[in-house]
Symmetry: C2
DNA sequence: CAAGTTGCTTGACACCCGTCCAGAACGGAC
DNA sequence: GTCCGTTCTGGACGGGTGTCAAGCAACTTG
């Protein structure tokens, strides 16, 4: 009588003894989330409907409720996936440089590159973050992503200070807020059609990071 | 046969020879825009419908199309009104201080005050700015507001440098991006329920503004 | 092969949206 | 009073939305 819920399907799928095959349920979820991510980043949260998402995938709209409990569940799964991808990108930026100038330049160009190449994804992030100011149910996940980004920025700043034999002059939240602000305004410029936005961001980030530490001794 | 359009009504109203009475047409527009602003700041752009706006006013939903051509016309009128109010607030902050520390402290507390008192308005602003990354028709107005805010910040920074016999170490766009970033993150914290967000913003802004200039001589 | 589970499609449901419109209510001029 | 332009109401229309359930297809298991 009771319908099988998405949670129960996921549970079964996790409990399956035969793990020869990868978990098809989670795979489909990820695949659908990926389609949704494309549509979301193109239309924005408000204008994206489940039917639109399904139309840009190879499935029909009904299947979304087979893999996700409701729209919020879908969106949040997309956001988590986005977060993982985002952190991965930032991780690539860190740790490859051994001198302070290398780190500074690598960070600045890395930010500018992802800003231009993944502009649609980033505007979706800012869209969802704005929505979380109204919709309380978004805040937990959005807040978690925000904190992970802040930690990422702080790793850059403190590592840069370490390499330069210096100490940061700002706290972690302030550093994140500053770079996030610059990134956001660069993104707006870029989406507005200004092709120099990337180079501008690179220069600005380099300058600010350089002036964010105080040399010891 | 042709219906009288909103533009024609506005035109007649402007052309009216007897100006003893204030322009009732523009008055009602402003009144309705004000109701709309309240609803918008409470629900956000996506979830606000014309019927909801009308319900929070003392009129019916049909009248909105008597005073505004369509939904975008209404929203944009609200945004313009918001912009005027916003600039007014910032103007109150500037020019009352004669020492650099007074200006620094006045600016920091002013920012924190409006962040807490008008939190809903500010989140609407960030909402609309995010929407403008997707909806091109929003960009002109949003960009104009953004530029006016940048000019306002730059007046603060350059005036502070002048009072302190120093020179700014960053450009106008970077200064705006930094303070905007801090404001935005403070707002998120405040709306998330953190009562110390105001004081934190004050301290952060004071610190950053102080380190944003280089003393001459 | 047959039975049963899972995956997916299709169409329906109730609701909300922006827009438009016929007409009621109002208000001043004659 | 009548008349007429302005202001406002409330409902209708077409379309889009999230959600759900009935049924079909495909695959797994006995």
């Amino acid at each position: 009588m009771d319908a099988v819920t998405v949670e129960q399907r996921a549970e079964r799928s996790r409990d399956r003894v035969s793990r020869r095959r990868v978990d098809k349920f989670a795979d489909r979820r990820a695949q659908l989330a990926n389609s949704a991510l494309l549509t979301l980043s193109e239309l924005g949260y408000a204008r994206t409907s489940l039917r639109e998402i399904a139309q840009n995938s190879e499935f029909s709209h009904g299947v979304l409720h087979y893999y996700f409990t409701d729209k919020v569940d879908l969106i949040m799964h997309c956001v988590k996936q986005y977060k993982a991808e985002c952190v991965r990108r930032y991780d690539e930026i860190v740790g490859t440089s051994l001198t302070p100038d290398d780190l500074k330049h690598g960070f600045a160009t890395g930010l500018a590159t992802t800003m231009c190449e993944d502009a649609s994804m980033h505007r979706l992030w800012y869209d969802l973050r704005s929505q979380s100011l109204f919709e309380e149910s978004f805040r937990a996940d959005v807040g978690e992503i925000d904190r992970s980004l802040e930690r990422m920025i702080w790793r850059i700043v403190s590592r840069y200070a370490e390499l330069a034999d210096a100490s940061p002059t700002v706290t972690s939240p302030v550093a994140y807020a500053m770079f996030d602000g610059m990134f956001q305004h660069g993104l707006a410029k870029f989406i507005g059609g200004d092709a120099t936005a990337g180079l501008e961001l690179t220069a600005n980030v380099e300058h600010v990071l350089g002036s964010l530490v105080f040399h010891n001794g």
